[in-house]
Assembly symmetry: C2
Homo-oligomer: 314 residues x 2
């Protein structure tokens, strides 16, 4: 990918007319019956589980690719199937890129110095090995900044050299996040605000800025608090916001409005409400066992809802 | 492992008379020449790299097992070799357990709700799959608490059900950590102190306490600041402290003194100063190309240094 991430992502958002990211969180227990062929036959088999997981993921990618610009793979659901799950992760990343999707690896890695470099090498840099004849790494990954912003440097270097992107966890959407992220400092800022202020100069480094005016260093901001989004948007005006929490976690389209600037600069992510739409009564009653149609209907509904809020600027 | 982690680890520390953890951070570029057989022959081969990495790791385990109770695998150095590296990680975890070592997986994972459960399933729970006929998961893992202590619950549940342990990142040893972890709150505590105070009741939950008086929920505390260790030791009196930063990162044995209570409750970790001791002039001049002897000498030297500080209580 020769294109700067901060240009590539906004262009794909505009082209698909949809600032939406589908989260690939494959949880076997939530799969439609017909997608559990192997794992129902051999319930304690690792190979069978990974087989079902891969084929479900592949099917989801094919359904959503015409409608959304971006998918986000949640690494944990692959790692739980050990190295075979990790192999399926890289295979699906490659499939998604072949389908023209922008791919985010939701790995939330963070560590110091040379360890961070090793994570960047494994998760962001295109594999340099002779055995891997095609690209397999995501276009961007999520990173955890708790260890200090010096620990982001190896990730930033890798992103710069590969024209890739980062999404730094700034404020998450879970109930307990406030106790550590919204805690108030002596100077009146919350911890997340202080983090955003430290992050801003890195996002505005000219090397990280695309011609679009956006930065290749984005931020993960939980979509469940409008006032938090507003305050962080002011502190990080160049970062594309990745907003998890839509759907199952309770965020509405209206809540995400504050993340957009003139209809741009944000990506709303939904996972379970899309992947497992066959469990939503209105879709189930309309499409019965055709879970693929439930997934597509859920994506299209989310697209309408978000676009109503974002307006006609796309 | 039927034994409670908070009893198992202290007993092994006492048995080996050494509160030391060797960090397995395999970096091919730092390997002794004679350990790079395959990767020198095929420099761009993934298989060759993983082969060398596995054999070096296996050799290190055999050298250190008689002298130390514990090893810590740094996951990043395996993940950089994609799923094949991850397979080598689990193989070495199994080797280490067969050698009687307590094994910590340094994975620093952290995420919300069901995602955290998936990480716990992949990294802490013994694999329940038919294909895996022997145990392969570490005895404990490191976790990142930035997302809030509610996100530790799935890890704690997994640890409890499996008699395993956790080491929660509380204060790290890198230079940039202060800007986010030592930042002062309105109530005068640092962010890390507030984190420690929130963590304390979880560590003192009776289900997590061993008969040793220690908790299965430990803390990672950078060994480079004595005053920080003292303050966190007061706030987390039941947690075993895992102290990285010894050796290459500049911490001395004296600095770690504050972490011990009557000679117990801490584990000092060193990685590169042990694994790559062939690059330390005094060992190289003594043993020449025999890198295995350099590793053993470095372990024994560290053991002497730490035991002088800890005293005769072991």
């Amino acid at each position: 990918m020769a294109d700067h991430f901060a240009d590539h992502l906004p262009r794909e958002i505009a082209r698909k007319n949809s600032p939406i990211c589908v989260g690939i969180d494959p949880i076997l227990d939530s799969f439609p019956q017909s997608a559990c062929v192997e794992s129902r036959r051999q319930p304690d088999s690792l190979d069978a589980a990974v087989d079902d997981l891969f084929h479900f993921g592949q099917k989801i990618l094919e359904i959503v690719a015409p409608h959304v610009p971006c998918v986000k793979f949640q690494s944990a659901y692959f790692e739980r199937y050990l190295w075979e799950g990790v192999e399926a992760y890289y295979s699906l990343v490659q499939s998604a890129r072949e389908l023209g999707l922008v791919v985010i690896g939701d790995v939330k890695r963070g560590d110091i110095g040379s360890t961070a470099s090793a994570y960047a090498a494994g998760h962001l840099v295109e594999p340099p090995f002779a055995e891997m004849d095609e690209s397999a790494a995501p276009d961007a990954i999520t990173v955890n900044p708790m260890l200090g912003l010096d620990t982001l440097e190896p990730f930033i270097q890798a992103a710069r050299s590969q024209n890739k992107g980062l999404f730094v966890l700034v404020r998450t959407s879970n109930p307990g996040s406030a106790a550590l992220q919204d805690v108030v400092l002596a100077d009146g800022r919350t911890w997340s605000q202080a983090l955003a202020d430290q992050l801003r100069p890195l996002t505005e480094d000219p090397a990280m800025m695309g011609t679009s005016g956006w930065s290749a260093i984005g931020a993960v901001v939980g979509a469940t608090q409008t006032h938090t989004i507003q305050s962080l948007r002011q502190r990080l005006p160049k970062s594309i916001f990745l907003l998890p929490g839509y759907g199952t976690q309770g965020a509405t389209a209206e809540m995400t409005r504050a993340a957009f600037i003139n209809g741009q600069g944000a990506l709303v992510s939904a996972s379970r409400s899309i992947l497992y739409a066959h469990r939503t009564p209105k879709f189930a009653s309309q499409f019965g066992d055709q879970w693929e149609k439930c997934v597509e209907a859920a994506v299209l509904e989310m697209k309408r809802e978000i676009n109503q809020v974002v307006g006609t600027n796309l």
